[in-house]
C-alpha cells in the first residue's frame, strides 16, 4: 500500500523557492558587481548593454521628467552616470523579477506594487541612513540591500492567506513581539528566513543574505555585515512610518534598542531623514514604476 506524504508548510515553501526562476544573468552579474568596491562605470555599461530590454528601460527612465532635467540622453554611458548605478540596479531588479515585485501579496492583504514601493522607499532610506552610521558602508550595496530585504514575502504570502483578521488581532492585542512570530505560527517559518533561502537560491553575495535574514534582528547579524543590517533595519521601519508598507504587517515590528550603538540618529536627524526620503521617493517612484509595469 502506498503512503501519501503530506508536505509541511516549510517543505512546500522550500519547493516553491527551488521552483523560482534564477535571476537573469545580467541582474545577477550587476548585483555581484555592486559588491565590488573598485568597479568602473564602464563595467556597468558593458553589462547593461548585453540586454536590449534593460538598455531601453534605463534610457527611458533617464529621459523621464523626474530625471532628465530637460536634457535628451541618448548614450547608455551618460544615462548610467546620470541615474547612478544604484538606480540601474533598481530598474534591473524591478523589471526582471516580475514574480517577486509585480504580484499582490494576498496573504498580507497588500496590493500589486506595494512590495516594490516599500522596497524602493527602504532602499532610498538606507542610502540616506548610512550617512549617520558609525562605520562606513558602501552606498551601492546599501541601496541594493534595501531593495531586496523583504523578498521573502513574495513566497510566504501564499501561506498566510485567509488569516488576515487573526493576524491583525494578534498585532493589535500586543500579544506578539513582532509580525515574524505570527508568520512562524502560521507557516513554521518567517519572511526573513524564506528571503534568505531565496537569496541563496539566487547565489547573492553574503552581505545581502545577512540583510535579508537579519533585518528584524540586526544584533544577530555577522559582525562584518552588522552595520549594513542595522541601516536596513532602521530604513525598513522609516519606510513603514512614512506610510509605505506591505499591508497587515505594516509597523508591526520592533526597533532594536541597541541601534544607537551603530547609528547616530537623534530625533531631529530622523525628522530630516524622513523628509529627505519623502522628497526623493515622491519624485522618482513614478518614473521607475512605469518602466517596471510595462
Amino acid at each position: 500500500m502506498s503512503q501519501t506524504h503530506c508536505l509541511s508548510p516549510v517543505e512546500l515553501i522550500t519547493e516553491q523557492i527551488n521552483d523560482l526562476p534564477l535571476l537573469p544573468n545580467v541582474v545577477h552579474h550587476l548585483l555581484m558587481l555592486m559588491g565590488k568596491e573598485n568597479r568602473s562605470v564602464q563595467e556597468v555599461v558593458n553589462l547593461v548593454e548585453t540586454d536590449v530590454i534593460l538598455t531601453s528601460k534605463v534610457l527611458k527612465v533617464a529621459n523621464s521628467a523626474a530625471f532628465s532635467r530637460g536634457q535628451v540622453i541618448t548614450s547608455l554611458h551618460r544615462a548610467i552616470v546620470h541615474l547612478g548605478e544604484k538606480m540601474v540596479v533598481g530598474i534591473a531588479l524591478g523589471s526582471c523579477s516580475p514574480r517577486i515585485f509585480s504580484q499582490p501579496l494576498e496573504g498580507y492583504e497588500s496590493a500589486v506594487g506595494e512590495l516594490w514601493d516599500h522596497s524602493l522607499r527602504t532602499a532610498i532610506a538606507t542610502r540616506e541612513i548610512i550617512r549617520y552610521i558609525l562605520h562606513p558602508v558602501s552606498a551601492d550595496l546599501a541601496f541594493t540591500a534595501g531593495l531586496l530585504h523583504d523578498v521573502g514575502k513574495a513566497v510566504l504570502s501564499e501561506f498566510l492567506k485567509g488569516n488576515g483578521e487573526y493576524m491583525a488581532s494578534c498585532c493589535d492585542s500586543g500579544e506578539v513581539e513582532n509580525f515574524l512570530t505570527i508568520e512562524r505560527r502560521l507557516s513554521g517559518t518567517d519572511h526573513a528566513e524564506v528571503g534568505c533561502a531565496i537569496a541563496r537560491h539566487w547565489n547573492l553575495p553574503e552581505p545581502l543574505c545577512s540583510v535579508i535574514r537579519d533585518h528584524h534582528h540586526p544584533a544577530l547579524a555577522p559582525q562584518m555585515d552588522r552595520e549594513l543590517v542595522y541601516a536596513v533595519h532602521v530604513a525598513d521601519l522609516a519606510a513603514m512610518l512614512g506610510g509605505t508598507g506591505t499591508g497587515i504587517d505594516t509597523l508591526a515590528y520592533k526597533l532594536d534598542s541597541s541601534f544607537d550603538q551603530h547609528l547616530k540618529l537623534e530625533q531631529k536627524e530622523l525628522d530630516q531623514l524622513l523628509l529627505a526620503v519623502e522628497e526623493e521617493y515622491g519624485s522618482k517612484k513614478a518614473s521607475i514604476f512605469a518602466c517596471i509595469e510595462e
Binding site: S110, C171, D172, M240, L241, G243, T250, A252, D260
Partner: protein, 161 residues
C-alpha cells in the same frame, strides 16, 4: 462619485456633493479632517511632521507637510469653499501610528498628534473624535454630504470615526 486623493503633505476641501476626499496609508502621519455638517463642506490634510522650523523652504512649497503650516491652510481651504466661520465645525484626527518601540525613540506619530491638537487649540478647535496611535496604517475618507469619516486598514476592515 469622484474620489479626490490627498498625498503626503497635501490637502483638499470640497463642497461638491459628488466628491469624497481620501488619503491612503497614514503611518506616523496624521490626517486632520474638518466637516461643516450644516454647510456640507469637508476638508482633509495629510501632515508628515509636527513643525515647519525643520525645513522652512519646504514649508513654503508644501505647507501641508507640517502641522503648524498645514492646519491654517486647511482652514483657509474650507473658507474658500464657502465655510462662513460661524457654523459648527467638526474636527477629527486619524493616524499617528508607531512602530513597536518600547523606548519611544521613534515617536513621530505621537508628536504629530500632539502638534495637531496644539495648533487646533490655537484656533479654539478640539477634535471630536480621534483614531490615533497603535501599530497599523490607516486609509481615511470623508464625505461632505453625510459628514461620515471612514477608516480602513488591511486585516481590520472599515469602520466609522
Amino acid at each position: 462619485m469622484t474620489t479626490v486623493y490627498v498625498g503626503v503633505g497635501e490637502l483638499a476641501a470640497t463642497n461638491n456633493p459628488n466628491e469624497v476626499i481620501k488619503t491612503m496609508a497614514l503611518g506616523s502621519c496624521v490626517g486632520v479632517i474638518v466637516v461643516s455638517p450644516l454647510q456640507k463642506i469637508a476638508g482633509l490634510l495629510h501632515i508628515a511632521l509636527p513643525e515647519s522650523s525643520i525645513n522652512q523652504k519646504l514649508s513654503k512649497l508644501r505647507p501641508g507637510m507640517f502641522a503648524d503650516t498645514g492646519i491654517p491652510r486647511l482652514l483657509e481651504a474650507i473658507k474658500q469653499k464657502g465655510y462662513d466661520g460661524k457654523n459648527r465645525l467638526i474636527v477629527k484626527l486619524a493616524g499617528g501610528a508607531s512602530i513597536m518601540d518600547p523606548n519611544n525613540t521613534f515617536n513621530i506619530g505621537k508628536r504629530n498628534v500632539l502638534a495637531a491638537r496644539k495648533i487646533l487649540w490655537a484656533y479654539r478647535l478640539g477634535a471630536m473624535a480621534e483614531d490615533v496611535g497603535l501599530s497599523f496604517s490607516r486609509t481615511v475618507s470623508v464625505d461632505p454630504v453625510s459628514g461620515k469619516v471612514l477608516i480602513s486598514s488591511p486585516g481590520r476592515g472599515e469602520w466609522e470615526l
